[in-house]
């Protein structure tokens, strides 16, 4: 490691399917462990990234687009870790089905979103210029 603030980028591309979310979690565990985060903070980052990937995978399943890929880009800087989770799942019109309606406001999606909010310092969710969603998370050191 050089003394100056030199950032490094680690990029991982996985199929947007349930069985690969664990691969993304393992990778981010490796990245976060290289930084001066506490054990709990590394766990928080792992869970937050897991939730972001899970949200993308669940949308891919609903939209029948599990043939798309999910890109997880981690930018390691001295003071912070920035993680971009970008999917290619095109928006589908709402089905209007009540089948997956939330139960007492406690559906998985809400819990996943709540966890992400609580586990990282900053989170931004926005549509990508193409067709998909970008989740950007930042965790600061110290």
């Amino acid at each position: 490691m050089t003394p100056q603030d030199q950032s490094a980028v680690v990029e991982l591309k996985i199929p947007c399917r349930p069985e690969f979310v664990g691969v993304a979690r393992l990778a981010i565990l490796g990245v976060a462990s290289r930084m001066p985060f506490s054990y709990d903070e590394v766990e928080d980052i792992r869970l937050a990234v897991g939730e972001a990937c899970t949200t993308a995978v669940e949308r891919a399943i609903k939209a029948n687009q599990t043939d798309t890929s999910l890109t997880i880009t981690s930018e390691i800087a001295d003071s912070r870790l920035t993680i971009d989770i970008v999917d290619q799942v095109a928006k589908t019109p709402p089905s209007g089905s009540e089948e997956n309606a939330p139960v007492e406001g406690l559906d998985e999606e809400n819990i996943g979103a709540l966890l992400m909010e609580l586990l990282v310092d900053e989170i931004k969710i926005e549509p990508t210029p193409g067709q998909g969603t970008r989740v950007q998370m930042i965790k600061y050191v110290g």
Binding site: V21, G22, R46, G50, G112, L118
Partner: protein, 118 residues
């Protein structure tokens, strides 16, 4: 690491589901299926033992909430065993520790179930 599920019966309407590994978007459907199987067998009191669970996400929480809801509709219960502070923390920060009865050990959970069962 995947999910390993072991079940054991504690009487005619009480069972334990012991989980080992990771409960996530990939493996949570297995847990859901196990709970449905028990519901179909008229088991109304389930203890889910998360002692050997290394990772758990919102998908797993969703399955557990769904199970709790169905069991309560039948005047049953779904209790959890969570000695691992990291896993317990996920329930605490989401407020779900107030919805589930969470125990430190399987013995503690069994005793609580006996009290509930009369």
């Amino acid at each position: 690491m995947n999910l390993k599920i072991d079940t054991s019966s504690l009487g005619e309407n009480m069972s334990v589901i012991a989980l080992e590994g990771e409960v996530d978007v990939y493996t949570a459907p297995q847990l859901k299926q196990q709970i449905i199987t028990m519901l179909d067998s008229n088991i109304t009191n389930i203890i889910v033992d998360l002692t050997n669970v290394e990772y758990l996400d919102s998908t797993a929480l969703g399955v557990l909430i769904g199970g709790l809801k169905r069991l309560r509709e039948r005047d049953g219960s779904l209790d959890l065993v969570i000695p691992n502070p990291r896993i317990r923390r996920i329930f605490e920060i989401t407020g779900l520790d107030k919805i589930f009865d969470i125990h430190q050990t399987l013995d503690e959970a069994q005793n609580a179930e006996k009290v509930k069962g009369g």
